[in-house]
């Protein structure tokens, strides 16, 4: 029973990371109706940049925030330079561009940093909180960071004029132009934010899974599953979905071992989706014929 409890708690920790990446995916999806398959690799690359800064001697939190800023700028640039030329292309063609980006980032990371796994430091203290045996210090710290980030993002979207403009641009680009919102730049900002969130997720997960170019693959998949589970058009749903997936993954792993963990978790999620096709909290679209 203790073990189950521990697995659920650490499932929440990884779930928080899935929730962040899921949120990043949903943000881009809401604005563009596209899922950014390259999100994970961008996050991984940003984490490597942080590692480089740390190797250069910068203190952890300085490197952390610098990486977040660089990731933000990078995301904006990618949208403006690489995605913009194909914004009117057929959907699957844009998906191929995403796959191309994915492969480029992965390959360049492998080339620059090699494929040997590297340890990545955790900024949180060594000792567990109150010496508890249920949840380690980094896992607790990761959950806290995730929650802070999510809270900031929600506050941004709900309370600031720019956040309002971004929501408007995602929902109704044409009307947004009519009130003077520069929709193209809102899109770029969305990418920037998504990349920044992804970078934070990467830096939180690297101490757990170790830094290597393929570290985000499984995470992206779980985040995608979490976003769909919660309903792809619903940011809250994405977050809850991410946490759920984290817990499902760990519980399944507990009973079936790590080999089958990925497949079984996915199968469970797909089964849920077959029963509830637009996800647990998604809007059922009523289509006008």
């Amino acid at each position: 029973m203790d073990l189950l409890f521990h697995q659920i708690l650490s499932g929440l920790a990884t779930g928080g990371i899935y929730a962040s990446v899921a949120l990043a995916l949903v943000m881009i999806y809401q604005a563009t109706h596209l899922v950014n398959f390259a999100q994970g690799e961008i996050a991984m690359f940003a984490t490597y940049l942080c590692w480089t800064l740390l190797q250069a001697g910068l203190p952890y939190w300085v490197a952390f925030f610098l990486t977040v800023i660089i990731a933000f700028i990078g995301g904006v640039l990618i949208e403006r330079v690489i995605i913009r030329p194909v914004e009117n292309a057929p959907v699957l063609s844009v998906v191929i561009v995403f796959i191309g980006l994915l492969v480029i980032f992965n390959s360049i990371a492998g080339w620059i940093y090699t494929y040997t796994i590297k340890p990545f430091p955790s900024p949180f203290p060594e000792k567990a909180l109150f010496d508890n045996s249920f949840i380690g210090p980094h896992e607790l710290g990761a959950i806290c960071v995730t929650l802070i980030v999510l809270a900031l993002v929600f506050a941004f979207f709900r309370l600031t004029p720019l956040g309002l403009a971004m929501r408007a641009a995602a929902q109704n680009p044409e009307s947004s132009r009519l009130v003077g919102v520069r929709v193209g730049w809102m899109l770029a900002l969305g990418w920037g934010l998504a990349s920044a969130i992804g970078a934070i997720a990467g830096m939180m997960v690297a101490p757990i899974v170790y830094l290597e170019p393929n570290m985000m693959g499984g995470i992206l998949l779980y985040a995608f599953a979490g976003a769909l589970l919660g309903g792809i058009d619903n940011p809250w749903g994405a977050v809850i979905g991410g946490f759920l997936v984290g817990m499902i993954e760990n519980v399944v792993g507990m009973y079936l071992g790590t080999e089958l963990k990925l497949s079984v978790a996915l199968v469970i999620i797909v089964a849920v989706l077959v029963l509830s096709p637009s996800g647990l909290f998604g809007r059922t679209h009523v289509a006008r014929v």
């Binding site: 004029p161 309002l164 403009a165 929501r167 408007a168 929902q171 109704n172 044409e174 009307s175 947004s176 132009r177 009519l178 009130v179 003077g180 919102v181 520069r182 929709v183």
Partner: protein
């Protein structure tokens, strides 16, 4: 007489390979209401979209003497042109208040914006009651009021209205147009009104143009056209 707030010269527009506007000319006097009438497919909505920069055009569109044709919509909006599109273009998932706030998105004078909220609520009290409500749940008439208010939050020099009477009960339409007239008198907002409902449009406008398949076939003062039975019967159907 001061220069027109909007001058359109030899405007051509097409969707793909289909030519919709074949070189139209019209003016909007400052502080005046000009109406463009015509049947479905005459090109009325296209005209408004062309003024707003939502499609590529040939010809000239001048706002207070300055060329705005070819400029992106976001820039034209910042020059003071607000467009109430057909179908209202409400942000259905946002609240009434958020819709209005978006109307004022480009304004620098944030302190005045609060006062403008009050003004909109005083023109349309029902919006105040529903201000936290999701805009998509409002009735058709209320959404139209919201759309007009959102446009007015810009404090525009020129207000474009695309078939505001569409789908509304006659009583609501009369109320709406009375308020439009009041706004025009009180604030001096120039208006370009596109309508299928000719009778109500002619009552509130001072200039009128009639479009037929992308060409202006009749133009004149609204009063003259209103009183011309021949024109009314053959072109406007009443």
């Amino acid at each position: 007489m001061s220069a027109p707030i909007l001058q359109v010269r030899q405007l051509h527009a097409q969707y793909g390979a289909t030519q919709v506007l074949h070189g139209i000319d019209f003016d909007v006097k400052p502080g005046g209401i000009t109406t463009i009438l015509g049947a479905n497919g005459a090109g009325k909505t296209t005209t408004l979209r062309a003024v707003c920069g939502m499609l590529r055009v040939q010809g000239e569109v001048l706002l207070a003497g300055e060329r705005i044709d070819g400029k992106p919509t976001e820039t034209i909006v910042r020059r003071g042109v607000a467009h109430v599109p057909d179908g209202r273009g409400t942000f259905v998932h946002l609240s009434v208040e958020e819709n209005l706030r978006l109307g004022a998105y480009t304004r620098r004078d944030k302190d005045q914006v609060a006062a403008d909220f009050e003004r909109m609520y005083s023109y349309f009290p029902r919006l105040r009651e529903r201000r936290k409500q999701q805009a998509g749940t409002l009735s058709g008439g209320e959404q139209q009021m919201l759309a007009i208010s959102r446009a007015l939050m810009l404090r525009p020099r020129l207000l474009l209205l695309d078939e505001p009477s569409f789908g509304l009960a006659p009583k609501i339409v009369r109320e709406l147009f009375d308020i439009l007239g009041e706004i025009n008198r009180a604030e001096g907002t120039s208006m370009l009104l596109v309508e299928q409902n000719a009778s109500i449009a002619l009552r509130v406008a001072d200039q009128a143009y009639l479009l037929e398949t992308g060409r202006v076939v009749i133009s004149g003062s609204a009063e003259a056209i209103r009183n011309d039975e021949g024109v009314r019967r053959s072109y406007l159907g009443y």
